[in-house]
Every structure is written in structure tokens, then in C-alpha cells.
């Protein structure tokens, strides 16, 4: 049983930590976006895009969580993972958990600045967007590392 509990801990770690990062990032971005919208509601589309940019970390965390859910057999059926395998899933989850959380914070800050920049001149939109996605690469790297670990845990590799 320890193995599966470790795997479940991994699911929670990936989903929750990355989720915290995205929630904080999107939250602060949404606050500034609403400030801008109160002045000019026609910018809703652009603001929505910029606000959602820090939202991907949570998604990555969720996907890693989901893959562990499937691969480790938490949903029933198949053999239960050993302690070693459960620990491997947990370790895999740590990458996107922490990578997602801190890059979410940082991307949220970048998004706030991007929103203010876009509010001054709508032409800055694409520049703001690209600058904000620069942060995302680190969440992506963490995600890919997590992903590769999770799908290649020995004994469970597809």
C-alpha cells in the first residue's frame, strides 16, 4: 500500500503546487486587468489573453498528476506500484510542482507589467505577450522532465 500512497502524494504535489503558482499568477494578473478594464472595457480580449498566460503551469501540474493517476493504477485495475515506483512518481511530480509554482509567481508578475504596458498603448500587446511567455519555458522544461520520468518509471513504462 505504501507505494500507491506515495504515488497519490505525487499526484497531489504536482497538481497543488503548480496550481498554487498559476492561481497566484493569474490572480494578480486578473487584478490589474480589471483595473485596466474599468477604464476601457473594449480591451477585454487582449486582457483575457494576457491574464491567462500564467495559467498553464496549473494545467501542466494537472496533466502530470493525471498521468500518474493512470499509470500508477490509482483508479483501480492492475498491479499496485511498489514503494520504489511510488517514490519515483513522487520525485517526478516534484519537478513540475516546484517548477510550476515558482514560474507561476514570476510569470504573474511579468503579466502584471505586460498588462500595464498594454494599457498605455495597445500596440504593445504582442511584445507584452512574447515577453511574458519567456518565463514559461522554465515551467515547460520542468513539465517535460516530470513527464519523461512519469512515463518511464520502470515496470510501468507503456
Amino acid at each position: 500500500m505504501t507505494g500507491i500512497i506515495l504515488a497519490i502524494l505525487g499526484i497531489a504535489t504536482a497538481t497543488v503546487l503548480a496550481g498554487i503558482g498559476s492561481a497566484k499568477g493569474v490572480g494578480s494578473a486578473a487584478q490589474s486587468a480589471m483595473g485596466v478594464l474599468s477604464e476601457d472595457s473594449s480591451m477585454f480580449g487582449k486582457m483575457l489573453v494576457l491574464t491567462l498566460l500564467p495559467g498553464t503551469q496549473g494545467l501542466y501540474g494537472f496533466i502530470v498528476g493525471f498521468l500518474i493517476l493512470i499509470n500508477a493504477g490509482v483508479l483501480g485495475g492492475g498491479a499496485l506500484p511498489t514503494v520504489g515506483q511510488g517514490l519515483a512518481y513522487l520525485c517526478g511530480a516534484l519537478a513540475i510542482g516546484f517548477g510550476g509554482m515558482f514560474s507561476g509567481f514570476a510569470q504573474g508578475k511579468a503579466a502584471v507589467s505586460g498588462i500595464l504596458m498594454c494599457a498605455k498603448d495597445e500596440k504593445n500587446f504582442s511584445k507584452a505577450m512574447v515577453s511574458i511567455t519567456l518565463v514559461e519555458i522554465y515551467a515547460l522544461l520542468a513539465f517535460i522532465v516530470s513527464l519523461l520520468i512519469v512515463i518511464s518509471v520502470p515496470g510501468f513504462a507503456g
Binding site: 496533466i63 505577450m129 512574447v130 511567455t133 515547460l140 522544461l141 512515463i151
Partner: protein, 659 residues
């Protein structure tokens, strides 16, 4: 597109006609200069322009008020709809109606101002009523004077008293004072009283009260509070009615909305025309217009000028400041907006649109990667283009997503994803089997989860091609400008180096010979780079160190390449999210209720997936173009070609070229 600079000479008497023709045809970008050439003068049209702009402002304000009071019923798809076309002759009618419409606008603005005044008055009345509230029990006016023998003092004390405590307090202040009082209102922070005392003791009474913090009401009136507040209420009612009347009146003007919008456009057209007039060099009988025109439009311009009798054209090769007009075939044209969103190409750049278009569609498809979603995109955009007849700009945006949709279908089929694994899930639900998409589809698929490593390698390989194409553009640009050293040493060697590494990497999987070949190319290029990159530095040592340091750039290429792993990440995200919702949808079993829930979860879930992932795919595709590819060769910063045309907002003049 190749630009020509053009000078049009014509007689002043033809000015109006010629300018009208030019504005209709939208062929010429008028050159902006600050001063007239020698021997010519400029006409100052700023007064007229100001007048037009004031009218534009008035119409704008009136439209805003109308939108606020009588919101326009707009369909969900209204923003996609094209503007209605009008006949050129109709502009004349709009022009002749414009004074009437402007006066309507002024009326609307005036009524709205009245409403604002009424609203302010209401607030004032409300405050006055609130102030009167504590005095309601008082049956004499607030400003009542003393009678023949009695002093009357009306006012408030800043704390809570009842009859006993106030008597005690007053007695404590002055034992001689003879008084009688009534407490009209008492709260923790305020007690309203009326106090009677013998007239000869007035000063004494005042003094005692003052020490308790007594103050008289701020706005004493000559009527009893009851009467006063009734009057105020009545006035408030009246104002309310008046305000409603004003609102009704504004509402009755709603039918003019269309006409107001058109009038605004008319003034927009006029002010654009007068701006051009102020750029004309004029002598007593002749005027000259300096501008730019795409080479292919020269014939059209000649025809127009021939129709205006006294006109001479002078067409030359364009100078350095010429504006840039992009022209692409139907495949690449929709991506033009992506290029201009970054920056218009400068004169030194090649038009990156065709290259960008291909990779944009390709990468978007790979990230969104679902045949079902792709089909939906194609369907929605096709219907929108045909049913709503959108304007040129919107149409080209829709086309962009239509092409992206095609690529999305392609990648969806490659990855075996049609609304996630919906076909497999549904067939399992019916047959009770345990099929996967791989079993179901007749062609071999790449599973984003199981073959992730393979897809990651593919992504980076596509990235390498993308970057090499970008560098190839740089190479080409440098060759064109005869900057050979830059072309061969700075770009060519790096390209070869990257190819060398790629061959080496491929060799590791395939054969040892390729490893040696790739390694050889890479080392040779690295040596070449060390030898050439320091060429700007002084002295042998400086050159060597400069060359060696340039090898450090390899890190930036590596990070660029790794960046393409997002192709895998986003592709996987779409697939997994869709799969999750499919799983949730089938949790409720096959009862009627279960099926209803299933359809509901399916629709909502996939809508969420589409929304989130389409946005992600769009943003990240754009980033790959802007950051990874454009940084290799693209300068931007050119001036866009903005012809003198009929730039209207609410209608489109038939047969005009404006977009």
C-alpha cells in the same frame, strides 16, 4: 511590393475632382513633409480639420449616450460582420443631412447634461432630507427667533443626553439658569434639542450650552421641518419626472443612431481629405502632390489622372523613406497580420510572411493537434466567412484560423486524437470492449503519451529546420546587400555547425559513419568560427579570443532548440485534457439520465479544452516565430503603406479599395 514615388501636377481648378478620385481609389500614400518646396505654398486647413474633429467628437459623444440609454441589440457574432456597403452617391446625401444630424447630436448631449444635473440635484435633496430627519418632531421653523419674553435656542449637542442627564448638565454649568427644553432626537453622537429660557438669561443660556458643545443647525429654514421635507420630497418627484422625460426624449432619438454613425464617417472622410490638402504644394494655379504608389498600380493611377484633364504624372524609383506594402498569395496572406503585429518589415528585410505562414499553420496544428477541434475550426470559420461577409481584415483573420484548422486536423490524425479519445470511449461504452485509438484507427499513430520521447525529438528537429530557415533568410539578405563576410562567416558557418550537430545526433541512432561525418563538420565549423568571428578585433590575440568567445553563442542555439519542446508539451496537454473530460463524461453509465449528463459534460468539457488550448497554441506559435525565428534575421521598423482612402467606420463605400 516594389514602391515608386510619384508626383502629380494638376491645375487648382481640378483639385477637388482629382482628390476625390484619389480618395476613392486608395492608390497613393501621401508623403508627409513639413514644408513646401521653394516657390510653393501650403494651405493651412487646420481650422477646417478642427471643425470636422469637433463634429466627430460630438457624434462620438452622442453615440455613447445613446448606447448607454438605449443599448443596441447586437448578436453574438456582430463583431465578425462586415460593414454595410453604400453607394458613393449616398455620401452626398449624408453630407447634406449632416447639419441636421449634428443638431440632433447636440440635443442629445444637452439632454444628457440635464439628466446629470437632475441627478446631482437629487443627491442634494437627499442630503437635505437626511439633515432634516432628526428635526422632524420640531413644530416650529428651524430659524425661529425669540418671542417677546422667551429666548429660543435650537441646535445639537455632540453626545447622548436624556431629559435627566441634560437637566443635570445644564444645572451644573449654571445654577441660575431657568430653562425648559425638549429633546427632539437622540443618538450616541448627537442630541437635537430646543431650549427655552427667559430672554434676559439668553447670554447665560448660550454660554452654558456652548460649554456643552452646542451648535446651531447649518441650514436653518423659515418653515417647519415637516413642511420643508414635504416640499423637498415633492421637488424630488418633479425632478424625477423631468429626468424621465429627458430620458424618453433621448430614447426617441435612437432611430438616428445609424445616421449619426454615418455622419461621423462623413466627417472622418472630410478630415482625411483636408489633411491631404494641407500636404499639397500650391502655387497660384497649380498644385503638386507627392506620394508613393506600388509599381503595379501605376497604370491605374494614370487612367485616373487622364480622366482629370490637366494633369501630369512623374513616376520615379522610390527613395529610402518609402512605405512598405506587403503582398502575398492566398496561402500566406492571412499571416501578414502576424508579421505586422510584430513590426512592418524595413527596407532591408525580405518579406518573412510566406515562411512564417507555413510554420505558423504547421506549429499551431501540432500544438492543438485534434482532428475534431480542427474540423470545428474549419467549419466555424468557413461559415463565418460565407454567412457574415466580414471585412477584409476580419476575413483574413478567419482564414488564418481556417488554415490552422486544416493543419490541426492533420496532426490530430497523426496523433490519433479526435475529440481526444472520444471514438474509442464511445465504442467501448456501447460494446463493453477495451479499445484504444490505436486499435480503432487503420493507420499507425503516434501516441503523445507513449511516444513522448519520439515526439520531443521530432519537435526539436522541426525547431532546427525552423531556425535554419530563419538563418537562411539572414544569409540571403546579407548576400543581397553584398555583406559577404556576414553571410558566410556569421550565418553560414553557424548553419553548417548546427547541421553538423544534427547529423551527429542522427548518427548516434543510425550509424557510426554519420557520427564521424557530423562531428567532422561541426569541428571544422567551430574552427572556422574561431578564425573568423574575431575579425573586428585588433591584434592576433584579440582576434583569437573574440573568435573563441563567439563559440559561447552555442548556448543560445541550444536554448532556442529546447524551446521547441513546447510543441510536444502543448500537443500532449490538448490530448490529455480531452481524454480527462471523455473519462468524466462516461462515469454516469448508460441510463437516460447518464447519457444526458454525458452529453453535457462532453460539450462543456471540450469547449473548455478548445478555449484554453487554442489560446495556448496561438500564443506559443507566435512566440516561436517572434523569439526563435525572427531574432535570427528580422529587423522590422518599416513604415506601413497607408493610402489616402475612404477610411470609414460604420459603412463601406461600394467599389472603394479601402480595407
Amino acid at each position: 511590393m516594389k514602391m515608386k514615388s510619384v508626383r502629380i501636377f494638376a491645375l487648382k481648378q481640378d483639385r477637388k475632382r482629382l482628390l476625390e478620385h484619389l480618395q476613392d481609389s486608395a492608390l497613393v500614400h501621401v508623403k508627409h513633409t513639413n514644408e513646401a518646396e521653394q516657390g510653393f505654398l501650403r494651405t493651412d486647413t487646420s481650422a477646417q480639420i478642427k471643425q470636422f474633429e469637433r463634429n466627430i467628437g460630438i457624434t462620438e459623444q452622442a453615440l455613447k449616450i445613446l448606447a448607454q440609454i438605449v443599448p443596441e441589440k447586437k448578436g453574438l457574432l456582430a463583431s465578425f460582420k462586415g460593414r454595410p456597403e453604400i453607394d458613393p452617391d449616398e455620401i452626398g446625401i449624408i453630407a447634406s443631412n449632416s447639419p441636421k444630424i449634428i443638431s440632433v447630436c447636440n440635443k442629445i448631449i444637452k439632454l444628457d447634461k440635464q439628466r446629470a444635473d437632475y441627478a446631482a440635484e437629487q443627491v442634494r435633496i437627499k442630503t437635505a432630507l437626511a439633515q432634516l430627519e432628526p428635526w422632524k418632531k420640531l413644530d416650529i421653523p428651524l430659524n425661529s427667533k425669540d418671542t417677546a419674553s422667551t429666548a429660543v435656542l435650537i441646535g445639537t449637542l455632540p453626545r447622548l443626553y436624556d431629559n435627566t442627564s441634560l437637566s443635570e448638565a445644564l444645572a451644573a454649568e449654571s445654577s441660575d439658569l431657568v430653562f425648559e427644553f425638549e429633546i427632539l432626537y437622540a443618538s450616541a453622537s448627537m442630541t437635537c434639542i430646543v431650549l427655552y429660557a427667559p430672554k434676559y438669561q439668553r447670554t447665560l443660556a448660550e454660554q452654558s450650552l456652548r460649554t456643552l458643545g452646542f451648535s446651531q443647525p447649518i441650514n436653518p429654514t423659515s418653515r417647519t421641518p415637516q413642511v420643508k421635507s414635504e416640499r423637498l420630497l415633492k421637488k424630488s418627484e418633479e425632478i424625477k419626472v423631468k429626468s424621465e422625460e429627458a430620458k424618453d426624449k433621448i430614447e426617441s432619438y435612437a432611430e438616428y443612431r445609424e445616421a449619426i454613425a454615418r455622419t461621423q464617417d462623413y466627417f472622418l472622410l472630410r478630415s482625411e481629405k483636408y489633411r491631404v490638402i494641407s500636404e499639397l504644394d500650391q502655387s497660384r494655379h497649380v498644385f503638386v502632390l507627392n506620394g508613393y504608389i506600388p509599381e503595379e498600380d501605376c497604370e491605374k493611377l494614370k487612367k485616373i489622372c487622364d480622366s482629370v484633364s490637366s494633369c501630369v504624372l512623374e513616376i520615379e524609383d522610390a527613395d529610402e523613406d518609402a512605405p512598405i506594402k506587403l503582398k502575398n498569395n492566398a496561402f500566406a496572406e492571412p499571416a501578414q497580420s502576424i508579421v505586422t503585429m510584430y513590426s512592418t518589415p524595413s527596407k532591408n528585410d525580405i518579406d518573412p510572411t510566406p515562411v512564417l505562414a507555413f510554420f505558423f499553420y504547421f506549429f499551431f496544428g501540432m500544438m492543438f493537434s485534434d482532428a475534431g477541434y480542427g474540423l470545428l475550426m474549419i467549419l466555424a470559420t468557413t461559415i463565418a466567412i460565407h454567412a457574415l461577409k466580414p471585412d477584409k481584415k476580419m476575413r483574413s483573420n478567419l482564414r488564418l484560423f481556417q488554415y490552422c484548422g486544416v493543419s490541426t486536423v492533420f496532426w490530430g490524425l497523426v496523433f490519433g486524437s479526435i475529440f481526444g479519445d472520444a471514438p474509442a470511449v464511445i465504442s467501448n461504452l456501447i460494446t463493453g470492449g477495451n479499445m484504444t485509438m490505436a486499435d480503432l484507427l487503420p493507420w499507425p499513430i503516434l501516441d503523445t503519451q507513449k511516444d513522448a520521447l519520439m515526439i520531443m525529438i521530432m519537435s526539436i528537429a522541426f525547431g532546427l529546420v525552423h531556425i535554419l530557415v530563419g538563418m537562411g533568410c539572414k544569409f540571403f539578405v546579407c548576400l543581397k546587400q553584398k555583406r559577404y563576410a556576414e553571410a558566410f562567416f556569421d550565418t553560414g558557418l553557424w548553419m553548417l555547425l548546427l547541421v553538423g550537430f544534427a547529423v551527429l545526433a542522427a548518427g548516434m541512432a543510425v550509424s557510426q559513419t554519420l557520427v564521424y561525418a557530423g562531428g567532422g563538420i561541426a569541428i571544422a565549423c567551430a574552427v572556422g568560427l574561431v578564425l573568423t568571428q574575431g575579425r573586428g578585433k585588433k591584434g592576433i590575440v584579440g582576434k583569437f579570443i573574440g573568435g573563441l568567445a563567439s563559440l559561447y553563442d552555442i548556448t543560445s542555439y541550444v536554448s532556442d532548440l529546447l524551446s521547441y519542446s513546447r510543441l510536444l508539451a502543448l500537443g500532449l496537454t490538448t490530448g490529455v485534457m480531452a481524454q480527462v473530460f471523455n473519462m468524466l463524461a462516461t462515469l454516469f453509465g448508460t441510463s437516460v439520465f447518464g447519457i444526458i449528463l454525458m452529453v453535457l459534460v462532453f460539450v462543456v468539457g471540450h469547449a473548455i479544452t478548445i478555449g484554453l488550448n487554442a489560446l495556448g497554441s496561438y500564443v506559443h506559435t507566435m512566440r516561436l516565430q517572434y523569439v526563435e525565428m525572427f531574432s535570427k534575421f528580422y529587423e522590422g521598423g518599416g513604415k506601413p503603406f497607408e493610402p489616402f482612402a475612404l477610411h470609414s467606420k460604420s459603412f463601406k463605400v461600394k467599389n472603394s479599395n479601402e480595407d
